[in-house]
Symmetry: C2
Subunit: 336 residues, 2 copies
């Protein structure tokens, strides 16, 4: 299996990207193709303590997508970017998956409009995340690929989410729910009410609307939303939890008495912190694109890069693209 890594992706690129590629090449024993500014990549490779470069390949890309590049124009404006050239390797059958810690919107636009394109009959790709909540894993989509959605797109997100849960969580018949402002079918905006009707008719275990609280309590395995609401949801959950942990930390630091008490509680805090992590595990797969694309955090460290590569490998082994193609075909959603 050959995985392409965008060496110019992360906020501190190419430092964590190159180091992560080496970790992955070592652990998985198969080729990692670094795409980006070859001189900078070679310089960074030369700095690594691990000089076993057997499974490292470098493909030069003269340009790079920046975090503030506009998704709508970057695909056309920078046809020689590492993202563009890297995805084309997958499109042309020279590699099996593409991983980047770069600009999500740009990756979505380049994949959809210029390089890999969509899986046949998929209307829009969705950005998905696996979040961990007290030991359970929940798949959320769309968390930000599309700022505006249509009911038929949400219906397809549900099919793709189901397939992804089967592959990534090993669930045969995952519970799929629709994020909403109330549990009754009459709740939600027009978009959500129409999506709910479509979802009831699909071949999946659709359990209806779900409120944020129930999502956090593990009331569904796959939670469907439009990209705007899903993005607000995941960012709000993440920020709320951080706020509490930071407030606890600040309080504990404020007095010797609290510091003393906290000594006893340290393992408890650590366990809570590790089990309640609304931040995505590894990277976010761009589901619906005709090739495996995993998007990691901009602030990824080498370990996070390696984990995103691991996730890409699992998606390739699980034949996720074929499974989505079949799922969409069997669902009849292409006609709606």
């Amino acid at each position: 299996m050959r995985i392409v890594l965008d060496a110019m992706g992360s906020d501190n690129c190419p430092v964590p990207d190159v180091a992560g590629a080496l970790l992955a090449a070592e652990e998985f024993g198969e080729p990692i193709i670094l795409v980006g500014d070859e001189a900078r990549i070679r310089q960074e490779l030369a700095r690594q303590p691990n000089q076993n470069l057997k499974n490292i390949e470098v493909v030069h890309a003269p340009d790079a997508v920046l975090m503030d590049d506009k998704p709508g124009v970057v695909g056309k404006a920078k046809p020689q970017s590492s993202m563009h050239i890297g995805m084309n390797l997958v499109r042309d059958g020279l590699a099996d998956a593409f991983v980047t810690a770069g600009n999500t919107g740009a990756a979505m636009a380049i994949a959809t409009l210029y390089s890999l394109h969509r899986i046949p009959k998929v209307k829009r790709p969705a950005l998905s995340a696996i979040v961990r909540l007290e030991g359970r894993k929940v798949i959320l989509l769309d968390i930000g690929a599309n700022a505006d959605s249509k009911p038929e797109w949400l219906a397809q997100f549900a099919i793709m989410g189901k397939v992804y849960a089967q592959k990534a969580l090993g669930l045969e018949n995952p519970r799929v729910a629709l994020l909403s402002n109330g549990e009754e079918d009459t709740k939600g905006s027009q978009l959500y009410q129409e999506a709910s009707e479509l979802l009831h008719a699909l071949p999946l275990n659709f359990t209806g609307n779900i409120e944020p609280k129930e999502v956090l309590l593990g009331g569904a395995d796959v939670v469907i939303s439009d990209g705007f609401t899903g993005n607000v949801f995941i960012k709000t959950a993440e920020a709320s939890m951080s706020l509490i942990f930071n407030a606890i930390r600040a309080q504990v630091e404020s007095s010797w008495r609290y510091k003393f008490g906290a000594l006893f509680l340290r393992p408890a805090f650590r366990s809570i912190y590790q089990n309640l992590d609304p931040v995505e595990i590894g990277g976010a797969p761009l589901l619906g694109v005709n090739g495996v694309v995993i998007i990691g955090h901009g602030r990824s460290d080498p370990r996070a890069i390696k984990n995103a590569i691991r996730q890409a490998r699992a998606a390739v082994s699980g034949r996720i693209i074929d499974a989505i193609r079949e799922g969409i075909q069997d669902s009849g959603t292409e006609a709606s």
Copy 2:
């Protein structure tokens, strides 16, 4: 000042409602008009330890809105509900404000379509909440009155939110921001991008888009959203924080060592819990309706009912209706 309280509002009505009315009549020394099933109200009044009924009046309403009544039909189906009759007292100048812990959607529909109607030139009322975050107060609207919105409505929500922040938070020039999935003006759905353009042109201190994290860190005094997203935001923040507190409680209970440590930390936890409360303070005002309407939690206890009445009194004293009328007129938003 005469405040009308819906005696049939809360989940356990009329028990906490009647007791809250007595607390308020005692504390504020002015009339509270209880509207609802007169026999049940009198029965409940007779049970109270405090038998000073000097400032308590009762108006009979033969019907009541239930929590699962459909907002779209209940106004027409139950013209004799306590909500309907209570709001009419305000509309007809027989009282100054209406308070209910009942069905939010029904209160919105009855107020807008059947009883108080909108303040002239207001396109849609919005449900607002004041939340407390580490000692700061933030006003959010719309948190659920309208499942679908238009850009012009969001622009008016901003004007109403500004006026409400001036009155309720005492801020002369509150910072108004638009909830979004990114800080750049290009972020957000079409609705939000169009709203952002309108907001830049309004006579207010518009600071642009704001992400959930910055809302929680106090980056704005007034946060504007559509009712669907605002509802998901506030419910997600509330549920995320509860989840952490519950996880801490469960961990602490799980071992003697943790229980011992927690003894030292108890005041720290209490302080955090009290300062980080994304739950609304008292009730949520329905802004834009031509009369003061405050909607409390269904699970209100007598103290919460009293606080919602206090909030209604402050809105009446502050002449919030006049201020919103003037704000909307001066903004020119009625023409957009």
